[in-house]
Symmetry: C2
Subunit: 419 residues, 2 copies
């Protein structure tokens, strides 16, 4: 199944890197060019305006919804048919690269541009879009915009989320001019397809051109607060301390060892990304430590068992140290299986284009998993260099790999929209 | 040896707590009243002006030197004789109490007030003072003012130190109006005596009234930067990570265990007060972690062996994890022995006042250790409740204990100034 529609690889690459200059910065240590478009910052707003302009220039009917998601609709021959959708996000982590999210948005735009060049009008409408705060770095909840659009998170709850400075999502949306008026809940599309960089080493290690994503592994985020007693570092004997910092360190060592042990499966992953002792001074035993825990597992039962094991051990370590534990789950996504039919359409498009591929699970969360609750959904993964490093300025996929992924996206969209 | 000079315990207590209201705050968790007079902040400046006013009201000739130390001189019968000095600091940690430092300054003021009440003029002049940034929390070097006065740290080096916001000591001194014109290096006094809260459990556990301080244990501060590679928390297999956060946690667990093991003596202490991962986000393996290490040991050889053992292990752990280590010693004080003669004067004053006492080493650094390089020096320790907790709003010594310590200080000053 190979559509007549050919994308323009140079236009795709140029557009992708034009967007990458919005919020760009140079990494001090490596000198590499990185991207910082943290959600609802001025840089994110500039990126949003840039992409909206391209949507409009491509003849799309653009709308912004109440959580700041931006949609561009290309009419089909059958105005009443449910649209086929494609999209991703343009927000980034503060130390991001040019491809994470952006490839899925600019790739969907390139599909529309290619259809325009060919003068091909699909039977079903095609809608492309980008969704608010997929990364979740700033407001603590990832896939925020798509979760609201697809109904997992109520709008009011999303608008009330605050960042570490206490700024609200709703206020920041208004501040940057993206508190839209369009209905935030969307009607079920016919299908949803997202192209994204793998952000991992699997495809490159297998030496294949692309990946067909079978689903997303389970994700759990925890915010943990350990409270002890601040004391003088010089005069307080070790035996009299109630040091939450030591308990945090033991927890960190424990979760790292558990993830490496294979006890909860070979694909278990654990990360402590944030550790914040209070008051955080050289000669004071901290009174309190806040830390985050990011757990991933492709097996929901293994994930639950890992959480039970970790927190049973934490409670014991804390009690022994005279430290109290508060923990709050800030995100929980069970394993999400993608649609077999859409996976098949994608696989056939790859075969028709002569691309080698492998089926795999995503280690990261993606907007597509929210849409999978609403309609048949799957994803195309594009391999990255350097073991697929991502959330880092070194993130890189070749022009050829990006073009292959976006051509397959285009072929799949046409197949789904004309079928 | 009991002088005829009696202090006013109520006046001492009232003055101490009047100063404690300058920079006071209420601890959210405990509701206790704490003190935050971080060096060279507006609160520190307000405290400085308050105490300077009391110095002047007591008839002292006040001078401010180029590092912001404040001295008050009471003339003696022999104008050419080297003065007997007493003093401490009024800066605090951000989460401090009413006694640390302040007792030594207000105690010295009370001694002068008592001499004034008695109309007693000593043979030698008496100089009391308070010294800039003893805590070292803000600019990373403790005992800063006394170290400059006594010649361990050059003035220019001290003025050039910066805080985490890049603000310079010299500029902050000027901003708060304490960049004085008096010579910063002082001539050798006849003797120096400092009264201070113990900040530890030893005296209370022994059930004695006061402590005669034999010296200060060795102190080493380290600033350590661990660099790895930031990566996506969901997609990067554990085996492919170079996570400096895990190495920091292993180091923290190691130094805590070493300090508790007794391998480097029963009084070895180790604290990791600050841990700062970059970028510090829930779903990103950090690229870099900065942490501090505070080591204390009464035996310099044991301290050196502990440092060697810790850093050999750190280098091995970091290499195994693909993480690089940079470390910088930010403070190093070998064990400081105090003067036997001054200790004896203090002990005799305690006996004359019927106070029970114990000789002990200080676990914390004090301004007195800088003066010990210049003249015969010793300290009086006042026990604290709650295991001597300090650098915490719960810090508390009874009015009776404070009065006993300050009476002994007064008697010792008179003995030294008339001898």
């Amino acid at each position: 199944m190979k559509s007549a529609i050919a994308i323009d690889a140079d236009r795709l690459w140029t557009t992708l890197h034009t967007l990458a200059e919005v919020g760009a910065y140079t990494d001090e240590r490596t000198g590499l060019r990185g991207v910082n478009r943290l959600a609802l910052t001025d840089a994110d707003a500039a990126g949003r305006r840039t992409v909206m302009g391209w949507f409009e220039a491509a003849g799309l009917a653009v709308r912004v919804d109440r959580i700041g998601n931006v949609y561009g609709r290309r009419a089909g021959r059958d105005a009443d048919a449910a649209p086929v959708m494609a999209g991703s996000h343009i927000d980034s982590v503060p130390t991001g690269g040019a491809f994470d999210g952006a490839l899925g948005v600019i790739g969907a735009l390139e599909a529309v541009r290619a259809l325009n060049d060919a003068g091909h009008v699909t039977r079903r409408p095609i809608e492309i879009g980008f969704f608010t705060d997929e990364e979740g770095c700033r407001f603590g909840t990832d896939m925020l915009g798509s979760a609201v659009a697809c109904g997992r998170i109520p709008l009011e709850q999303a608008l009330a989320l605050t960042d570490k400075d206490g700024l609200r999502v709703g206020d920041e949306l208004a501040r940057i001019g993206f508190a839209g008026s369009a209905e935030h809940r969307i009607a079920a599309p016919h299908a949803f397809v997202e192209v994204h960089v793998e952000q991992g080493p699997t495809l490159a290690a297998a030496g294949v051109d692309l990946g067909v994503v079978e689903g997303v592994q389970g994700i759990a985020w925890w915010a943990i607060t350990l409270s002890g007693r601040s004391a003088h570092a010089g005069t307080t004997p070790m035996a009299l301390r109630r040091d939450p910092g030591v308990v945090a360190a033991r927890l960190h060592v424990l979760v790292d060892a558990l993830a490496r042990s294979g006890r909860f499966g070979a694909q278990m992953r654990a990360t402590v990304g944030r550790v914040a002792p209070h008051p955080g001074l050289v000669n004071i035993v901290p009174s309190q430590v806040e830390l985050t825990l990011d757990l991933r597992n492709p097996d929901d039962d293994q994930m639950a068992r890992a959480e039970d094991a970790i927190f049973a051990e934490l409670d014991a370590m804390a009690a022994a140290a005279g430290v109290t534990v508060e923990r709050r789950r800030t995100a929980r996504t069970p394993r999400v299986p993608f649609d077999i039919g859409v996976q098949q359409v994608i696989a056939e498009a790859m075969e028709a284009r002569g691309c080698t591929y492998q089926r795999l699970l995503s280690g990261a969360g993606h907007d597509a998993q929210e849409f999978s609750a609403l309609c048949p959904t799957a994803m195309v993964f594009v391999p990255g260099l350097y073991e697929g490093i991502s959330h880092n300025p070194r993130e890189y996929s070749t022009p050829e790999a990006c073009a292959a992924g976006v051509q397959v996206l285009t072929d799949a969209l046409v197949r789904l929209a004309d079928g």
